[in-house]
Amino acid sequence: MHIPDGFIDLPTSAIFAAASAGAITYSLVGARKQLDEKSAPLAGLTAVFIFAVQMLNFPVAAGTSGHLLGGALAAVLVGPYAATLALTVVLVMQGFLFADGGLSAIGLNVFNMAVLGVWGGYAVFLLVRKILPKNKSSISIAAATAGLISVPIAAVGFVFQYALGATATFSVSTVLGAMVGTHILIGIGEAIITALTVSAVMASRSDLVFGWENKTSTLEIREQK
């Protein structure tokens, strides 16, 4: 999903770099209000974990692999503001340190994975959580659904950028069909990894999970002891 240099022209890349910068600023303000002594280390750990798991490409179809994007996972664990920042750190690091994703394409990649993937995934999570009963396993199911859908959402972000500023001339609808089809398959892997991770954190420290509504009450009980 990491766009290399050259796919999208520079003016379009600049527009998305500006949009991403706006989203990062908004997230910095939001995260500053939200993060405290307890949630800040978890936000850092989330970035580290997503970097690690993004290295683990899994096979999806003949000759194709995919890896976790992690936007929905991060949004459920630490909230969408900190998630956007965590994913941005991962993407910038990958581009500069590991030459993964183009440097001129960083704004495009941040927009697709750290903005669309995070906020799109978070919106799906909230919707599904609303429908399901209020218990712990619902959080994992909602997170998995968010993971599943966040990947094609990020893929559509790329198609949008392709439509606006592709250097190649292949038809947008061809690219749309191929991107969405492939990334629904990758989304299944995303859903599994997201569900396993959220379940593990819910089982050990559910009070740390941003998307778990009942956490405030557990928190208060613990503090009064």
Binding site: I3, K33, D36, E37, L45, F58, V89, L97, H183
Partner: protein, 100 residues
């Protein structure tokens, strides 16, 4: 319930094992976007990252022949670097005392 510190330490250890050990077994086929670009034909428009010749490009430490070691060390460097940058950022952003 395990303590905050223990939870973070365990999480970092799991991440280090994944990036430093399991990454060797990652599938090396092109990822979704790369495959689509190959199949449709716009892969030719890709240009090399300006850092394509850097010592950590493509998740391998240059100069280490052993592939398992090369990707493992690169993964560990990535874990430390990501942890340093994100840890620093989020600790700077946090409120010093929880709101009452």
């Amino acid at each position: 319930m395990i303590s905050n510190r223990k939870f973070i330490v365990m999480g970092v250890l799991v991440s280090a094992l994944l990036a430093g050990g399991a990454s060797f077994y990652a599938n090396s086929n092109p990822d979704g976007l790369e495959k689509v670009a190959q199949d449709i034909g716009f892969i030719q428009s890709a240009k090399d990252n300006a850092n394509a010749d850097s010592s950590l490009a493509d998740y391998g430490l240059k100069g280490i022949e052993n592939e398992r070691l090369s990707v493992g060390v690169a993964g560990l460097i990535g874990v430390v670097a990501t942890g340093a940058i994100s840890g620093g950022l989020f600790l700077l952003l946090r409120r010093k005392k929880p709101k009452n």
